[in-house]
Amino acid sequence: MLRIENLVKQYRTGDKALKGISLEVPVGQVMALIGPSGAGKSTLIRCVNRLVEPSSGKIFLDGTELTGLGIGGLRRARRRMGMIFQEYALVERLSVMENVLSGRLGYVGFWRSWWRRFPQSDVQEAFRLLERVGLDHMADKRADELSGGQRQRVGICRALIQNPSLLLVDEPTASLDPKTSRQIMRLICELCDERQLAAIINIHDVQLAQMFARRVVGLQLGEIVYDGPPDGLDAEVLTRIYGEEDWEATIGKVDAEDEENGEAA
């Protein structure tokens, strides 16, 4: 579904953020992308929807080459890629409803969006999504009145109302407490299951990645150093990704938490 071939990104400062990444994500797969700060995780997912222009290499989404698209083509392609952000990136001074509906901007014309006259089907879908994430009573609130977890749920709705086939998720839990982090990750994964969405989730927290993703890719200094199942992350692999550290506690805890999780469910 998503195919990345030999992707290179070199910033104008000369820093090479990505050094020839090749990656394939099949339909419906939730993939966690882990790695230290500065490894190029954010750059990689931003290259996919071209918020960052790749220097070279090719990216295909369902056979369309994203890297060669013009402005109009890129807009149409972006509609099929929902993005969820670290600090939620909601438009703070707009209402929850407006934020969710802004996910439809790629489908409606300028004047319809200016007068906030979105098609009734979009509004219904927005209500349905808000209900699905438990925020239907918040539709009229302004985004800056919400708590972190609630904001991220609105962010998820905004991405899903695009009706995407791929989710690009950038550190969704970095500003959330551990419990909310787990709830948000579970929500994202459930929604991906329901809709057969592929997802690339950048994440700092190795344990969360192991708990929720079916595949983990480790990035280090712009290169893939691990690509495999979550339980393949042992001390040796983590050292390869992050560097020398005592990893026994991290790995041990995951098993315990997984069981706890299983019981709770």
Partner: protein, 271 residues
């Protein structure tokens, strides 16, 4: 910062000794220049006139009081003109300043190389010329009257509004814009959904603030013939009708107080 080792204990000082001496020297030079300039001004002042000042002030005050209250009946219309000059001028400047601001802001300009310098030049040239000078030129071009005043206020305010607005645009949170872009929104939609909501409070504050300033500026435009209450002020001063002058000053004071109160209310309501 400097660290000196005394014995075996490191001692920290805010500045090194040479830096400290340099700062003392700079203060010394600054003080000397001030004293010298003071002397120059003093030499060129006719102190006889200054010694006379309190008596002259008392004389003027006595000639100005009591204010000619009855003259107020002739001031309502010029006062209304003054308010209109300020309000219409501000409105024109806002309409013209918004596109200039978006062209001048580094993150929204269509071209950093070509459009931005033009926008910045418009801002600088509008700001560098005082309203009174704009009015002086426009009275020659458009003829005397309220219209010249409106245009003068408008031209002067474009730079002010555009400068503050483009600074606000440059300070917005880029991630919100990124998020709207990522949905596949067009450029115009990114502007109205991602950028406009973020700068709206600043925009409202700037506009009301400029309106407030313009009311004060438009009271003097009449001195050069550009309409408003300044015309009456000019006429009264020329005929040495000091009681009328004091009446006009009181009327201006009252107007400014009211405008200040209104703009504070509006700003409070919007932000």
């Amino acid at each position: 910062m400097s660290v000196v080792t005394k014995g075996d204990v490191p001692v920290w000082r805010r500045r090194t000794t040479p830096e400290q001496y340099f700062i003392w020297l700079a203060w010394l030079v600054g003080t000397a220049i001030t004293v010298y300039c003071w002397k120059l001004i003093s030499d060129k002042t006719l102190w006889i006139f200054v010694e006379d000042a309190p008596r002259q002030a008392a004389d003027m005050a006595s000639r100005m009081s009591p204010p000619a209250w009855s003259y107020m009946s002739k001031l309502w219309i010029p006062l209304w003109d003054t308010l209109n000059i300020a309000t219409l001028g501000t409105a024109i400047s806002i309409v013209l300043a918004v596109p200039v601001a978006f062209c001048a802001a580094r993150n929204t300009t269509p071209s950093v190389l070509f459009v931005r310098p033009v926008a910045l030049f418009i801002i600088v040239s509008s700001r560098s010329i005082n309203s009174l000078l704009w009015a002086l030129m426009l009275v020659t071009i458009l003829g005397p009257g309220v219209f010249a005043g409106v245009v003068a206020i408008g031209l002067r305010s474009i730079g002010f509004v555009a400068k503050l607005l483009y600074e606000a645009i440059e300070e917005i949170d880029a991630s919100q814009v990124e998020a709207v872009t990522a949905t596949g929104a067009s450029g115009a939609q990114v502007l109205t959904y991602g950028i406009v909501p973020q700068v709206l409070p600043a925009f409202a504050g700037i506009s009301v603030f400029r309106w407030d300033i313009n009311i004060r500026e438009s009271t003097v435009l009449g001195l050069v013939g550009a309409g408003g209450i300044g015309l009456q002020l000019d006429a009264s001063i020329n005929t040495l009708a000091w009681t009328q002058v004091s009446m006009i000053l009181l009327a201006i004071l009252a107007t400014v107080i009211v405008s200040e109160w209104v703009s504070a209310k509006i700003r409070h309501a919007i932000i």
